[in-house]
C-alpha cells in the first residue's frame, strides 16, 4: 500500500468551527470521529482545522482593463468558511477516494499535501545576504574591540593572486607584505593580479581579520579551458614550490619583533579522480599521505602554520560540472589532511549550500571539520562570494583573529595549530544532526563564542558591597573604576610587598567585624586584586588605607568625600 499525504477541505459545521477556535487557542487537534468517514482516509488527530475564508470576486468599475484580483474580497461568514484538515489515504485507491469525496456533501475537495523544504543554494542562485550579515554572525565588532582582528598575523592567500588596489577601494586595508609574497612566475608582481578569485578570498579573510598582514601567494594562473575561455589552474608540483616558500618564512630566524603566526588559505583542489594516479598506486595523490604535497602540508603545519582548505564543490545537490557527477568521497588529498581545517559552506541563514562537498574525506575520514559562510554579496568580484572558496577564507580570517590573541609559540602546546583547530571546532555552532556530521563538520564557525572563550568577561567587581567600611570613605567616588564591571584585561602590574596582618593595636578597641573586614581586604589586595584588573594606583590607595586603619590612634579616620560628589555615608557611589 502506498500512502499519500492529503489535505481535505470540509464544509462548515459548528463542530469544525469550535474545534478550529479551540485549536488556535490550545494547539490541540480534533476528534477524527467527528469528521466525515472516507475510504482509507486516516485523519491526523494532532492537526486542528484551519479556517479558509471564501473568496468573493467583485466587479471592477473599469471592467477587464484591470487585474480582476483587485476586486476580490473575503467572506468571513461562518457558513461560507471552509476548513482544512489533513490525513493520509491509500494512493492505490486515490481515484475511488476522490469519487467518494465528490459525492459527500460535507467534503469540498481532497488535495495532495506535498513535502516542502527550504530552497537549496546552488551555483547561479542569488546571493543570500551580504558580508555585513557575515560580520554580524561572527560578532566581528566584539572580536575587533577585543584585539581579535588579525593584527600581527600573516595570512597567506594561496590562489590566483590578490589585487591590493581593489581591496583598498572596497574598504579592506590590511598590511601587505610584498617582500614575503610569492608568484608562480617571476614576471608576476604580487599584489597586482587581475581582480579574480584570489582577491575575493583576500576580501573574505579580511571580514574577521581586517588588520592582518596579507601574503599574496599567486599559484593559480590562466590556462586554456576545455570549452571556451580560460580557467585558473596550476599543477600540484607548483603548489609544492609555493608551500616551500611559506615553510622558508616560518623556519627562518625570526626578525626582531616579527610575528610567527601564519594562516594559510587554500580555496582550490582537485575535482575528479581521473586527474590523478589510481588509488593504490604508490604515486597517487588523493589517498596517499606520502605524496610530496601532502608531506609538505604536514611539514608546514608542524612549523606552526594554521592551514585551511576548502572542502570542494562536489556536493550532492548541485555539484560543479568538473566533478562529473561524482559526489561521494570527493574531499581529495590535502583538502582532507589531518593537518588542516577542511571547510564546508553554509549560507547566511546557516543552511548548507547544495554544492558543498560532503565527507568522509580521503586522507582523514572525519572531514569536513567546520563550515564557513558563503554565497553572500561581499567583495563585488562576483555576484556572490560563493563556493567553498568563500567559506574557507571567512574561517581563515576568524583563525587569524584568534591568532592575534593567541600567537603561535613553539614552546607552548596550547598555541599549536592542532590546539587552534580544536578551539575553532569545539566552539562552532552545531548544525544538522547533533554533533559532528559529514555535511557541516562540527558546525559553523562562531566568532562570538571564540571571543568569549579567549576574552572572558570578568565578574563585576563591587568593592563597596564586599567591603562596606569603604563607604565611609566615599572610595567609589574617588575610584569609580572599583565599582563597575571590568571587562578588559589590564597589563600585569608590579607586585606590592606583602601587606602585614591588620589588627587592632592594644587598647584601640577596634570592632571585631571591622577588623575581620580589613583583614579580608588585605587578603584580597594581596591575592586577587591584580587578577581582577585593579590598577596599581587603586591597589596602592587601598594599601595606604589599610595602613592608615592599622595605625589609627582610636576612631576611624574622617570620611573622605569628593568635593564634587558628596554623598551619604551609606552610599559609596557605586
Amino acid at each position: 500500500m502506498t500512502i499519500r499525504n492529503v489535505i481535505v477541505e470540509l464544509k462548515y459545521t459548528a463542530a469544525l468551527a469550535a474545534s478550529a477556535q479551540a485549536g488556535e487557542e490550545t494547539g490541540l487537534g480534533m476528534n477524527p470521529n467527528a469528521l466525515p468517514a472516507i475510504e482509507t482516509l486516516q485523519y491526523d488527530p494532532t492537526f486542528s482545522p484551519v479556517p479558509l475564508p471564501k473568496l468573493v470576486h467583485g466587479t471592477h468599475p473599469n471592467g477587464e482593463l484591470f487585474d480582476s484580483m483587485a476586486a476580490v474580497s473575503l467572506d468571513l461568514a461562518p457558513s461560507q468558511v471552509t476548513y482544512l484538515v489533513r490525513g493520509t489515504i491509500d494512493d492505490t485507491v486515490a481515484e475511488a477516494v476522490s469519487a467518494q469525496a465528490a459525492g459527500d456533501s460535507d467534503v469540498v475537495n481532497i488535495y495532495s499535501d506535498v513535502a516542502i523544504s527550504p530552497m537549496i543554494v546552488c551555483p547561479g542562485s542569488a546571493a543570500v545576504g551580504t558580508d555585513l550579515d557575515v560580520e554580524r554572525l561572527l560578532c566581528t565588532s566584539a572580536m575587533h574591540s577585543s584585539g581579535m582582528d588579525g593584527s600581527g598575523v600573516l595570512v597567506a592567500i594561496v590562489d590566483t593572486g590578490v589585487n591590493m588596489a581593489y581591496l583598498n577601494s572596497k574598504g579592506k586595508t590590511p598590511t601587505f607584505d610584498a617582500a614575503r609574497s610569492w608568484a608562480w612566475s617571476p614576471t608576476v608582481t604580487p599584489g597586482s593580479a587581475p581582480v579574480d578569485h584570489g582577491t575575493m578570498c583576500a576580501y573574505d579573510a579580511c571580514i574577521a581579520a581586517p588588520r592582518c598582514t596579507l601574503l599574496d601567494i599567486a599559484l593559480l594562473h590562466p590556462i586554456s579551458a576545455p570549452v571556451g575561455g580560460t580557467i585558473m589552474s596550476a599543477l600540484l608540483s607548483d603548489a609544492i614550490r609555493a608551500y616551500n616558500h611559506l615553510l622558508g618564512i616560518l623556519t627562518a630566524p625570526p626578525r626582531p619583533g616579527a610575528t610567527v603566526s601564519m594562516v594559510v588559505n587554500n580555496s582550490w583542489g582537485m575535482f575528479h579522480t581521473s586527474w590523478d594516479f589510481p588509488v593504490g598506486h604508490p604515486g597517487n595523490y588523493s589517498d596517499n599521505p606520502a605524496h610530496p604535497f601532502n608531506v609538505i602540508v604536514a611539514s608546514l603545519e608542524r612549523a606552526g602554520a594554521d592551514i585551511l582548505f576548502a572542502a570542494g564543490n562536489c556536493g550532492a545537490d548541485c555539484p560543479d560540472g568538473r566533478c562529473r557527477g561524482v559526489t561521494a568521497n570527493t574531499i581529495y588529498g590535502a583538502n582532507s589532511s589531518a593537518s588542516v581545517l577542511s571547510v564546508a559552506g553554509v549560507d547566511t541563514t546557516r543552511a548548507r549550500v547544495g554544492y558543498s562537498a560532503i565527507g568522509p574525506g580521503r586522507l582523514t575520514t572525519q572531514k569536513p571539520d567546520i563550515s564557513g559562510y558563503t554565497h553572500f554579496r561581499g567583495s563585488g568580484v562576483y555576484a556572490a562570494d560563493g563556493g567553498t572558496s568563500a567559506a574557507c577564507p571567512v574561517v581563515a580570517g576568524v583563525v587569524a583573529a584568534v591568532r592575534s590573541r593567541r600567537p603561535y609559540n613553539p614552546t607552548d602546546s596550547s598555541t599549536s595549530p592542532a590546539a587552534i583547530r580544536s578551539l575553532v571546532t569545539t566552539t562552532a555552532v552545531d548544525l544538522g544532526p547533533a554533533g559532528y556530521d559529514y555535511s557541516h563538520g562540527f558546525g559553523v564557525v562562531d566568532g562570538c563564542a571564540l571571543r568569549s572563550r579567549l576574552v572572558p568577561t570578568l565578574p563585576p567587581i563591587d568593592i563597596c558591597v564586599r567591603f562596606p567600611i569603604l563607604c565611609r570613605l566615599s572610595i567609589c567616588d574617588r575610584f569609580p573604576r572599583l565599582c563597575r564591571p571590568i571587562d578588559i584585561r589590564l597589563p600585569p602590574i608590579p607586585r606590592f610587598p606583602p601587606i602585614p596582618p591588620i589588627g587592632p593595636r592594644p587598647g584601640l578597641g577596634m570592632d571585631a567585624s571591622v577588623q575581620a573586614e580589613l583583614q579580608d581586604l588585605a587578603s584580597y589586595l594581596q591575592n586577587e586584586a591584580e587578577g581582577d584588573g585593579l590598577s596599581a594606583d587603586e591597589i596602592a590607595y587601598l594599601v595606604g588605607f589599610l595602613d592608615g586603619q592599622s595605625n589609627a590612634p582610636s576612631a576611624p579616620p574622617p570620611p573622605f568625600e569628593s568635593p564634587r560628589h558628596k554623598r551619604k555615608h551609606d552610599d559609596c557611589g557605586c
Binding site: 580557467i231 580555496s267 604515486g283 595523490y285 610530496p292 560543479d320 563556493g387
Partner: protein, 89 residues
C-alpha cells in the same frame, strides 16, 4: 618531454641541482633546473625534484632506481579554484 615528480632524501645541507646531478650521474637536461630541489620535510630531509621522463627511462636499473631514498613518480594533477564554475570562465 613531460616531467615527473620524484622525492629523495639527502642528509646534510640542502643539495643543489648540481649535487643531485653529480650524485646520481644525471645529465644536465635530466632534471628541471627551474623547479630546483624543493625541501618538503625538514625532519626527514626529504626533497622534491622534477625529472625528465626520458631520463627516468634511460636510467632504469641504475643507481637512481636502486636508491631507497628516491621515490616516485608521483601524480602531478592540475588543481583549480573552488569558486562557482560560471564565475571562473
Amino acid at each position: 618531454m613531460s616531467k615527473l615528480l620524484y622525492t629523495l632524501t639527502w642528509s646534510g645541507a640542502q643539495p643543489t641541482v648540481a649535487d643531485i646531478e653529480a650524485h646520481y650521474h644525471l645529465d644536465h637536461a635530466d632534471i628541471d633546473h627551474d623547479y630546483g630541489v624543493v625541501l618538503i620535510d625538514p625532519q626527514a630531509q626529504q626533497y622534491a625534484v622534477m625529472l625528465e621522463e626520458s631520463a627516468v627511462e634511460r636510467i632504469s636499473g641504475s643507481r637512481i632506481e636502486r636508491d631507497p631514498g628516491i621515490k616516485g613518480p608521483y601524480s602531478n594533477p592540475p588543481v583549480e579554484p573552488f569558486g562557482l564554475q560560471e564565475d571562473e570562465r
